[in-house]
């Protein structure tokens, strides 16, 4: 073997490492740009809304010299680009300012409410995907059958019934009448003093604490709102799965798979769904991101102390720091989820991989 031949694999490995680095760098640039855009938009909103943050603090009876002093302390006398710079600097350090309503730093508030929303959204998405995908597959495979019609109606109801109504109904039936589940809130008051949150995700915390009584209580609290959100994402996911599957099932490689003598099960789940999974990842990721915004209505009906409720309350009280902080968190989550679905996309579809 010549030296050149021996060096070949090393060079190829180098090139691959370089390509990986390049794609990671590309990701970083994209994320940074998107993030900067997000900050610019929130900053802009914060300056154009007809809410004076100074008045919100000093009150409308403060003498004018006090107003002027506070304005300077808060940096509102500076040129906009400097204000923006200070704003970005603060946000990057995790400083969203202080909430007028709760008097806590906004970051502290968000650390408290966001896990509640994320826990609920995760449960909802897991339920939605776990039931929505098989239902969609069933509807596509038995196209036009009774099963297809039932899935269609289930989806239609999910799309069109208002969630607060369904939520109230669910509470009435399963909590008030039957008593199968717990009512509003994340957990019973009984546990509030014995339970020590670690991550803020109560289900996880209960497991970490080995507090099984609390775990059961948390499950019985989350099951209703979780299933409700799950039902709504199921409606969406099953429709999309059905249409992606119909598209895949009409492809030639499905005929080839049949010609190979594969079983229908293998063709549907191993070939068609494996291909349909590629666009499905995006659909599920987006529906998850949508739930992470905090479903205000669900959180209101179930008294769920989540991000949606927090932002709505802040908005009603002109608490701009809290609103913008929440918006930035939601934006960041969107960026993160899109990034994640991009990565998954690459894993699932060899055609999108750079070589």
């Amino acid at each position: 073997m010549s030296t050149a031949e021996r060096r070949m694999p090393a060079r190829r490995a180098n090139r691959r490492a370089f390509a990986t680095l390049k794609s990671i760098a590309g990701f970083v640039v994209v994320v940074a740009t998107t993030y900067l855009g997000l900050l610019a938009v929130t900053f802009f909103i914060g300056r154009v809304v007809p809410i004076d943050p100074v008045l919100a603090i000093v009150g409308d009876r403060a003498p004018s010299h006090v107003v002027e002093r506070v304005r300077q302390e808060m940096g509102f006398n500076l040129p906009y680009y400097q204000q923006f710079f200070l704003y970005v600097k603060g946000v990057l350090q995790g400083d969203f300012g202080t909430s007028v309503l709760t008097t806590n730093p906004v970051m502290t508030d968000i650390r408290r409410v966001f896990p509640a929303t994320m826990e609920l959204a995760t449960v909802g998405t897991v339920i939605g995907a776990a039931f929505g995908i098989p239902l969609g597959v069933l509807a596509a495979v038995r196209r036009g059958s009774l099963a297809d019609q039932i899935v269609r109606i289930v989806g239609l109801v999910g799309y069109s019934v208002p969630i607060f109504w369904l939520g109230l109904l669910a509470l009435l039936v399963f909590y008030a009448r039957l008593g199968w589940t717990s009512g509003p809130g994340r957990m019973d008051v009984v546990f509030e003093y014995t339970f020590t949150p670690i991550t803020g995700f109560f289900l996880l915390d209960a497991i970490l604490n080995r507090d099984w009584a609390a775990f059961r209580d948390i499950v019985s609290h989350i099951v209703l709102p979780g299933s409700l959100l799950g039902y709504f994402s199921l409606a969406y996911i099953s429709r999309m799965t059905r249409s992606f599957m119909l598209n895949e099932l009409s492809q030639e490689y499905i005929v080839a798979a049949r010609a190979k003598g594969l079983s229908e099960t293998r063709i549907i789940w191993g070939h068609a769904l494996r291909n349909a999974a590629v666009p499905l990842v995006t659909v599920i990721a987006l529906s998850y991101a949508g739930l992470l915004e905090g479903s205000v209505l669900t959180e209101t009906v179930f008294a769920w102390p989540g991000l949606g409720l927090y932002i709505t309350n802040s908005l009603q009280n002109a608490d701009m720091n809290a609103v913008l902080g929440g918006t930035i968190v939601i934006g960041s989550v969107f960026i993160a989820i899109n990034l994640l679905s991009d990565v998954l996309y690459r894993m699932l579809d060899p055609r999108t991989r750079t070589r």
Binding site: E252, Y253, G261, S263, R274, R351
Partner: protein, 277 residues
Amino acid sequence: MSTLLDVKDLRVSFPTRTGVVEAVRGVSFTLGRERLGIVGESGSGKSQTGRAIMGLTPEHGRISAEKLEFNGIDLTRASKAERRALRGKRIAMILQDPKYSLNPVMSIGRQIIETLRTHEPVGRAEARRRALDMLAAVQIRDPERVFGLYPHEVSGGMGQRAMIAMMLVAGPELLIADEPTSALDVTVQLDVLGILHRLVADRGMGLIFISHDLRLVSSFCDRVIVMYAGRIVEELPASRLSEAEHPYTRGLLNCMPKIGVDRHPLPVLDRRPEWAL
């Protein structure tokens, strides 16, 4: 010559909103371990004939036949599971365009192994070895490399070789090739045909070669069936194609341009309704 396939009065029809469309209307032929070409224009029922033999007629299609026998097995009475066991194992089919007929998210090697392991209880290492052998048999120079590639990473000719490997790996006795070279470049067509020819000869398979290319079929097959509007209008040895009598076949032959001969205007195909009766 032993009969591999016996087809008598095969009919395939599809109910549509405007009435029943008969794609195949009483096709009969027998096939030994030979190469039979089926030619005809699009919609003549040649592909549906092939699919009916495979058992791949679309759900809503209806098939009837006086006789549809493969190696003494009555295909009209065989259960779905029995037909599935035949597919890929004893009767295989090659489709037109490897760009669409290979699963885009599965590596070529895995797709070949999948056929093998569906029909034979072979271990991983053994399956891999046989898949690599099969890739070598379709004259792929670097089987190890191609084994790990995805369909979008190979050329059309390479993809069709992979398709042939995938369909022949379990050793079928009958191969139905549905326009196997129509999607390929002309230069690659001959390579693929050559490979197909060698494999069919070496393994003593029966071959049904479906094509619209009369010249290709006549040079590649032993016998030719000409179909028109779901019926066989003429059947003759490939060597005597030039002596075809039916006006439709003659029409097809006359449509072919020849190098060095001025054929202006090129004759247009004549389709008379009475031939379809």
